[in-house]
């Protein structure tokens, strides 16, 4: 009996070994390593003299670019999450009716969520540029993604649109788990549709609200692709709301001005000299 249990444990460790090794090597270790680096002077040659301390933290906390970045991402998140949830819930309510072509509409609304963010942002840059489709229809002439005063709100709008499809799926699942008799009771009492929604449906969706708030709040804080691509908008070369921290105005390749190039330069030289 004891041998069988030991054998099971052995196979258990064996099965879990590779996944655990991957998580240890590429998640836990980098996490610890990053924290370690943060307490030292760390230059292109690796660890430098000068002891350890929290100086890197105070440096970052006093960096105006970091302040701008924090403020921007806070504004973005506070704006985009309620919009995503409201749009997603509206779509879910529409889809949740007994209608023909339900699967078609569901797929149509969901598709922008899974399409490549780079491609979607690229298309948006052209549709919303100064002479783009949007301005031709509305008669405006603003370059939405190039103008420093509108770029953030353009990304908010773009991502609210693309993400609403995923939010819709979660709300749809939650709506379908609300039992019919609740609605029947409301109908017997003669409650109107509007009141039924606000007094019954909306409160019963509380777990879904909470779930979506957390999941899409985290998603919003991780914004990268759209902001990165939007900063490549041709007319935005001198856009000065630093959604990315580069202040360079000349561009040759996507990596010329990106952090990755600077990283590469520093890290390559550190490894070759060590």
């Amino acid at each position: 009996m004891r041998g069988a249990r030991l054998r099971e444990a052995g196979w258990g460790y064996g099965f879990a070994l590779v996944p655990i090794a991957v998580f240890g090597l590429f998640f836990v270790y980098p996490f610890i390593y990053a924290v370690y680096i943060s307490f030292f002077h760390w230059g292109i040659l690796g660890k430098q003299a000068g002891g350890h301390g929290t100086f890197n933290y105070s440096k970052v906390l006093h960096d105006p670019i970091f302040h701008t970045a924090l403020k921007t991402i806070a504004e973005y998140t506070v704006a985009v999450v309620p919009l995503e949830l409201a749009l997603g819930l509206s779509l879910a309510l529409l889809i949740n009716q007994k209608i023909r072509g339900r699967n078609f509409f569901r797929s149509a609304f969901y598709f922008p969520s899974i399409a490549s963010s780079v491609a979607i942002t690229t298309i948006a840059l052209y549709i919303f540029n100064a002479n783009g489709l949007f301005n031709q229809i509305t008669g405006s002439n603003r370059a939405w993604f190039a103008d420093a005063s509108t770029v953030l709100w353009s990304i908010v709008g773009l991502n609210a649109w693309t993400t609403s499809g995923t939010v819709m799926l979660f709300y749809l699942a939650a709506l379908q788990s609300i039992p019919d008799d609740v609605y029947e009771a409301a109908a017997v009492d003669g409650t109107g549709a509007w009141r039924t929604f606000w007094r019954i449906t909306f409160p019963l969706l509380k777990p879904a609200h909470f779930f979506c708030l957390v999941v899409f709040g985290i998603g919003a804080l991780k914004l990268f692709d759209q902001a990165f691509i939007a900063s490549m908008e041709p007319a935005a070369q001198t856009t000065r709301r630093p959604l990315r921290s580069s202040t360079s105005t000349t561009r040759r390749s996507i990596t010329t001005t990106s952090a990755s190039r600077r990283l590469r330069a520093s890290s390559t030289s550190s490894s070759s000299s060590s």
């Binding site: 099971e8 444990a9 052995g10 196979w11 258990g12 460790y13 099965f15 879990a16 590779v18 996944p19 655990i20 991957v22 998580f23 590429f26 998640f27 980098p30 996490f31 390593y33 990053a34 680096i37 529409l94 209608i99 509409f105 569901r106 797929s107 149509a108 609304f109 969901y110 598709f111 969520s113 399409a115 490549s116 780079v118 491609a119 979607i120 298309i123 549709i127 031709q136 229809i137 995923t166 799926l169 699942a173 779930f211 999941v215 991780k222 990268f224 692709d225 990165f228 691509i229 490549m232 041709p234 561009r251 996507i254 990596t255 990106s258 990755s260 190039r261 990283l263 590469r264 390559t268």
Partner: protein, 290 residues
Amino acid sequence: MTLQTVAAADPFVPRKARKDVARKAAFYALMLVIAVIFFVPFLWTIMTSFKTIPDAVNVTSLPHPWTTSAWHTVWTQDHFPTYIKNSLFLAAVIVVCNIFLAGLGGYAFARLRFPGRDLLFLLVLGTLMVPDQLRLIPIFVMMVNWGLYGHFESYILINLVTATNLFFMRQYFLTIPKDFEEAAKLDGAGYFKTFWRVMLPLALPAMSALIILQFQGTWNDFFWPLILFGQGDTSHYTIQLGLAEYLFQYSSQVPQVMVGSILAIVPVLIIFLVFQRYFVSGVVSSGVKG
């Protein structure tokens, strides 16, 4: 529209029903308007891809003349076939690794008893909280030191198995009745054989969802390919990296950029249309942002 005409032609339809029909028609009209808003950007993209460069200025009109020259240029003069090949290769390798390893790990955490299992599982879930940006510099330094920087191996290594997939497989294995394993045991099957021949085939629905979502995730990934391959050597670019580079260098060649965008979207679109059911069930049950 047709619903309304039917209602008007039938004198025996009570007043209330007519109102319902009108309401229904209005509802479908609203749905169609919303659907059109969702489709317009894609239709416009397809339309623009068939224009000539000077014609692309006329954003509201149909192509005049229709031409496939942008498609031809992108396909023959740029590296898009290479980008697509790279993306497909990475997606295929990573999907296969994830099915196998997430399946193995998920099965171990779901069914096999070994000391420290729950603690290790917490550790696995904990990795979900480590943001990519925090791992960026350490992983970059590691890859440079190992000589893997700029090679496909670096990207494959960090994506061999994800906690989301492992968790997803574990949850599915938990729903399979234990009878199957007991029957396999009686037949003398070992642990691996039970996993490989009995449990994995039973987990086919979960695997389908995993394949689709992981393919989509890898195909659309931009951040890590940018960090690991974005050094200007286009031979290792993925499709998303290639599209960004193209936008960067040739933003005035609007039809070509649109062709690139379509190429970056279409494979996921095809898979989505074929496997819609799994997309929906996978996203909802795993809680992954799609």
